[in-house]
């Protein structure tokens, strides 16, 4: 029987198509989490009361902050999920090597982030409609898609990048855990330990710095560069670490 020649791109493409189907359950959890977030958001994300002797003003704020935050965490969890044995070894049934497996995972996560970004932004309209029709008896100030289409696009894009960053982080975390189970304890310990330490010292440490590094960047081009570079580093780290990882039953 003559040998088959395969190219990496070809295999990655096939694996990607395969993963869209095989990992489809992650999109069910996306719907679930976004609906849950919408439910949490119905109470509003903040409020203000003010006024003087002649007038009292009470403002309640709604936004899809929760939905976006939930979706980012979903990306994180999804990325961890696909590094677990149950998913990782799926590749090794068919044609693969570690590079193609990682690449197709990255492309899958990119797609998932994009879908997550779009639905997270669109779900703010679901939130609005529910509030209009079922919740609020007071006037609402909002902008429709027609008034600010660019803001929607901006939202989709930046949310997509955020989710992808969280995916990259999750992928690295998941890969570390695959290498050694000790990381399931070490990583959360390091994270929470760092937070508590910062809290005790009353100073902001590395975690807060990382948080600010992304979340307070107001220049879009710089933000894009930051995300791409960071996600790239996280993925490369995961690629390098998993390249010697054996398939264990």
């Amino acid at each position: 029987m003559s040998l088959t020649k395969v190219s990496l791109t070809n295999v990655v493409k096939k694996q990607y198509v395969y993963k869209l189907k095989a990992y489809s359950q992650v999109f069910m959890s996306l719907i679930f989490l976004q609906l849950l977030a919408v439910f949490f958001s119905l109470n509003g994300v903040g409020g203000m009361a003010g006024g003087d002797e002649s007038i009292d003003v009470e403002v309640k704020y709604f936004s899809s902050d929760y939905v976006t935050a939930f979706t980012m965490l979903w990306g994180f969890i999804t990325a961890i999920l696909i590094t677990t044995k149950a998913y990782r070894n799926d590749d090794f049934v068919f044609v693969t090597n570690r590079v193609s497996s990682n690449l197709s995972n990255a492309v899958f996560l990119l797609t998932a982030s994009f879908i997550g970004g779009i639905t997270a932004m669109l779900s703010s309209y679901l939130l609005k409609v529910i509030i209009y029709y079922f919740i609020s008896d007071v006037p609402i100030k909002s902008t429709t898609i027609l008034e600010a289409p660019l803001e929607l696009l901006l939202g989709i894009f930046s949310t997509f990048l955020y989710i992808f960053l969280f995916c990259a982080l999750g992928y690295l975390v998941g890969t570390l855990v695959q290498i050694s189970k000790a990381f399931t304890v070490l990583l959360p310990a390091a994270f929470f330990g760092g937070l508590i330490l910062d809290g005790l010292r009353g100073k902001s440490g590395a975690i807060a710095y990382v948080f600010e590094f992304f979340f307070t960047e107001s220049s879009l081009p710089l933000f894009i560069v930051k995300i791409i570079v960071s996600a790239g580093l996280l993925f490369s780290g995961a690629f390098v670490l998993s390249n010697r990882l054996e398939v264990r039953a």
Binding site: I55, V59, K60
Partner: protein
């Protein structure tokens, strides 16, 4: 820093939930069905997206309940406007900024003295500025001026009512209007948009600007006003 802790707690809850859903979904997968699981997911997901898109449409065509008729106002000019009004009032030039005159009263009064009393509240929600007329015409003229009030950049001046004035026996009774309550909701951008539009990240910046309210009294030349309740009566200096 402390603000992160509740955020983390929610995160933990979400992670647990997500894992549980993933598990539940996994178990669900093994059911035999006429259609494959991935296809069912595809349908459910398409349904979800369709609902979201319908909501986008509903939002654009949404007829009522939107805060309408509220003009936008440039909050930067408001402060200057109120200072200007006050200065103009003290200089007796208030009539020249007549566009913000909200209400006028006119009472006949023949006495020599008049008690000024604030009823109900302790303070009157307006500065009282008094101008003596050049003659004694036994008439007290009052006018209520107000600069624009705004909340979050929207003009709500119309919603504030002018104070209540009444001449009773030997006294001018002033009272604040019935408080007007404004309740409304605002749909703000998500943080990942605000970050780039210069809005305050993760916080909802509210601003309320009450504006300047002035009750301008023109009284007969020799009428003496007696401040019974300690409101500050500002008399316009006259040469």
């Amino acid at each position: 820093m402390m603000a992160i802790i509740p955020l983390l707690l929610t995160a933990i809850i979400i992670i647990t939930l997500a894992i549980l859903t993933a598990r539940a979904v996994n178990r669900n997968v093994n059911r035999k069905g006429k259609y494959s699981y991935s296809r069912r997911v595809c349908w459910i997901f398409s349904g979800y997206v369709a609902v979201l898109l319908i909501c986008v449409v509903l939002d654009t065509v949404h007829p009522g309940n939107i805060v309408d008729g509220w003009k936008k106002v440039d909050t930067k000019g408001l402060e200057k406007e109120s200072i200007d009004l006050y200065d103009a009032a003290l200089e007796g030039e208030i009539a020249n900024i007549g566009s913000i005159l909200r209400k006028e009263w006119s009472f006949d009064y023949h006495g020599q003295q008049l008690d000024v009393v604030v009823t109900q509240d302790e303070y009157l929600n307006a500065s009282v500025i008094v101008e003596r007329k050049h003659n004694n015409d036994d008439k007290i003229e009052a006018a209520f001026y107000q600069t624009r009030q705004s909340v979050n950049g929207m003009d709500i001046t119309e919603l504030a009512k002018p104070p209540h004035l009444e001449i009773a026996e030997d006294g001018l009774l002033l009272s604040n209007p019935k408080k007007n309550k404004i309740k409304y909701s605002e749909f703000t951008n998500v943080f990942s948009v605000k970050q780039f539009t210069g809005e305050d990240f993760f916080r909802h910046d509210s601003n309320f600007s009450g504006g300047q309210s002035i009750l301008y009294l023109r009284i007969p030349k020799d009428l003496e006003l007696i401040d019974k309740t300690g409101i500050n009566l500002n008399y316009i200096e006259q040469e």
